[in-house]
Symmetry: C2
Subunit: 522 residues, 2 copies
């Protein structure tokens, strides 16, 4: 059994070894980076951890103040989290960690918290990249023991799943019924259904079902003042959607314990291809044309040449990964339709079209195969880069097509200006809509004089540009604490007041995730 | 120029004439109905209207206490509204009618209302079928002077449209740009964009874009305590969606003055067919298979044999209307795919497949053509039936596939039991999802001893059955006042408290649509 790292991304056994770190350093030196200054991965013995809080009697059966548990529940996995973890700074550790076994345990935690005035941090995979976890002295409420698929209704393609189910555990249980949720965020290995719902996670499909929102048929959420349980429905028009207020609430209104999810039969047919472009603008136009033709490919990911280089899928060209999948019908002709659009925009088919059926499920060749591997490995690489003294992080957004070019240029200009040379700023589209793309940026650069200062300058600059150009501060990474200042500029003021009023009604003691989404002083 | 009826559906000139009423009577007598007792359409002179309220000075420039205006703004167009209108009972008339010319006028109305303690009823097409309008002595806030398409961005397929734009006016303005919203509720001729958004109206597409919700890129809403304006975005994950709290808020949080809508290029290719089934269960299974194959036809409407009879599209058979449309590619092969499913389930292709391109736009033949005509004529027929002393109304819902059969049987049993003979209960699917259908029921029966009592018994019985069987009290007709008791059972209690807290925050004087969605005493 693998062992979760107390500081870095994912599993200790999967953290990049000396060879992988060396390869990364070589890749960067090829684009002019100075030699890195790697530091050893930190040991648990060397960390600085405040004293634990006392575990109230009611929680004793399912809570722990174990040192490693508290360390592992201190941060998410954003850049500042990795830096602090590497430095052994765990000052923001929770008082203790509770592992509820059922909803009654969750209620118990909320009751005790309200009585003792303790903050509660709902914790799933612990993979927040926007400061969603850190809260010194809080109760860390780790849902991962509530990880079962409780009920499956194949006729309606519905499955009732507990909030603490991590990606692989959830999929393994659905696979017993030949079903799948097909939600694969980059954190899939670690993150949980409840976390996906609370943060409006982005998933597998590049079009149509972009967020987990679209896959939820009902949500059950324990609030400090009662259980919120919506009807399992394919659609409704009865008042504002309760599910849509739970989605994205980031744990400030309640703890998501269960949801009825819309699942899929496992796809039988897949067709895929990669198209390379010499010109980024032409590639963007091709993607817009595909999105507006409403052909809805399941994969439609554009990597600019820098991203393609980082992912080692192409050199000097922009890469568009295209794919369709279906449990019902062959999808070769659909792929032909989007390839016709892509080539009409100057693209060159570099791989495929490749058509797979059933047994070929494992096939992982071509750019898409390489990219997929690189995709899930990405956060591990970030951990390695940070351990080598580099600044390495991502930010993401969504924006209408008419504003994309200006935004993209402004970001390049502004971020390059504050990034120590030789910085890299790579762009890909994770999801696309008929009315705009969801661009995702990765930046890597040397630390300059002050590692954290450099990171903060880049992050703030990028966020300012997003907000100034009409983009969203986040398409699927959530708000947490990090994005709060820009979220405060983005949200309609009356909505912010409505949300705060709802929060006060449901959580009068203010115990749930204080400081996330809304400022503690609000 | 046509003239809006003060009491019946739509335009006075379009109300069924003697011939149409006679034909309706003949149709019903063919299925055993007694001879009707038609009454003449009511004249404006004969109605009972309370004295108007005084128009405050600030509103004098755009408000009126005209007798006809007040009558026309008294009710929606539900069955009880038609009955009262026919009887000349306009006791619930508003104090006066305000026609804001711009947002400043809307703000002015809300200010005056808060100061004077007057209720405000936002009014669009006045086509509510769930008691969304009636409020004696309120200010009726008629938005239909704010009816312009203000801005169009073809590159992103976005259009900024005022809330008071009625269907035809909105489409005519978009047509100048070769664009269309493609949202055709049955009330299209009368209802407004703001009304559609506030009530989560169901539209043209039978799959995928079922509600107007999916077409809104941002919403601007004037609340009594500030303007709520969300960013124009293709997608976002920044907190719970503000738009989704505005959608379905039915005027209790604010008045929707504008929205950025996702529009479409006008379709160039269309393919359509009708499939007849001898067995309803087989037809339902065919629709489920089509929905779960995720082929997303734009039309996929199932009419049971009673509905097919009422719509005069078939005798003794169940009819499935299928269609695809696209501005980008021919859709003949897509239609073939769904026809293969339908025929595999025992369906017989009775019309088509017919393929249309561009110039053929006007073609309106086959069952789909007849049905379309009948669809928009439906509410006029209801007005005629009521004027002939009949009970005639509809209710609608959505439910997962696994619960549909039981619900459908229970509804038939319960409604038939309380309906005077020879009652008709017809069913169609207006929208379908991979996880369930949205069934829509029409009932027509003689009045029994007590017209209103008979209607109320049927409505309450049907609503009880919907709630008891896990369905929603409304898929796209909204809650209004009529559905409130069942909505109160359906919504999660903590959500109801959150919504009420939001309402109190945004509308502290409680002037906006009191009694709609939430009880006045809540």
């Amino acid at each position: 059994m693998r062992h979760l790292s107390h500081w870095g991304w994912g599993f200790t056994e999967a953290l990049p070894d000396a060879t992988e770190r060396k390869n990364l350093a070589m890749l960067l030196s090829a684009v002019g980076f100075p030699a890195p200054t790697p530091v050893p991965y930190p040991s648990l013995d060397a960390i600085d951890l405040p004293a634990p809080g006392a575990i109230p009697d009611e929680l004793a059966a399912f809570a722990t103040d174990d040192r490693e548990e508290r360390a592992r529940h201190t941060y998410g996995r954003a850049f500042p989290d990795l830096v602090r973890g590497l430095a052994g700074d765990f000052g923001a550790a929770p008082a203790f960690v509770a592992y509820p076994r059922d909803e009654a345990d969750v209620l118990q935690v909320l009751d005790v918290a309200a009585r003792e005035g303790l903050a509660v941090t709902p914790f799933g995979g612990g993979t927040s990249v926007c400061g969603g976890v850190e809260r010194a002295g809080a109760i860390s409420l780790d849902l991962t023991r509530m990880d079962r698929v409780l009920e499956v209704i194949p006729e309606s393609l519905h499955a009732r799943i507990q909030g603490g189910a991590r990606g692989p555990r959830l999929e393994a249980q659905l696979a017993e019924h030949d079903l799948t949720l097909r939600h694969y965020p980059q954190s899939f290995e670690l993150s949980t259904l409840g976390g996906w719902l609370a943060t409006r996670a982005g998933g597998h499909f590049a079009t149509r079902y972009t967020h987990i929102d679209d896959l939820a048929a009902s949500i059950r959420m324990v609030t400090p003042t009662g259980v919120w349980d919506s009807r399992r429905l394919p659609g409704s028009g009865a008042g504002p959607s309760p599910d849509r207020l739970a989605l994205g609430s980031e744990g400030i209104l309640g703890v998501i314990t269960e949801a009825w999810m819309r699942v899929f039969p496992r796809p039988r047919w897949r067709s895929k291809a990669s198209v390379h472009f010499a010109d980024f603008g032409a590639a963007v136009e091709a993607v817009r044309a595909i999105a507006q033709a409403r052909l809805y490919p399941s994969n439609c990911r554009l990597l600019d040449s820098t991203q393609a280089l980082l992912d080692q899928v192409a050199m000097g060209e922009h890469v568009l990964l295209l794919g369709f999948e279906s449990a019902h019908h062959p999808v070769a002709s659909r792929l032909d339709e989007v390839l016709a659009i892509a080539t009409a925009h100057g693209g060159r088919v570099a791989y495929g079209p490749k058509h797979l059926e059933d047994g070929d499920r494992g096939a992982r060749d071509g750019s898409a195969g390489k990219w997929r591997e690189s995709f899930f490995r990405g956060p591990y690489k970030q951990t390695a880069l940070v351990s080598m003294g580099m600044v390495a992080d991502t930010f993401e957004t969504a924006i209408p097509w008419d504003r994309f070019d200006t935004l993209h240029r402004a970001l390049h200009e502004a971020v390059t200006a504050v990034m120590p040379e030789p910085g890299l700023l790579a762009c890909r589209f994770t999801h696309v809509y008929p009315d705009g793309p969801a661009p995702y940026y990765t930046f890597v650069c040397p630390p300059g004089d002050d590692l954290m200062g450099t990171w903060r300058r880049i992050k703030e600059t990028a966020s300012d540009v997003l907000i100034a150009h009409g983009a969203t501060i986040t398409h699927h990474h959530a708000v947490g604490r990090t994005h709060r200042p820009w979220y405060a500029q983005q949200r309609p003021d009356p909505f912010a007041r409505a949300l705060l009023a709802a929060k006060r009604e449901l959580d009068p003691a203010g115990v749930l995730n204080p400081g996330v989404l809304l400022a503690e002083t609000e």
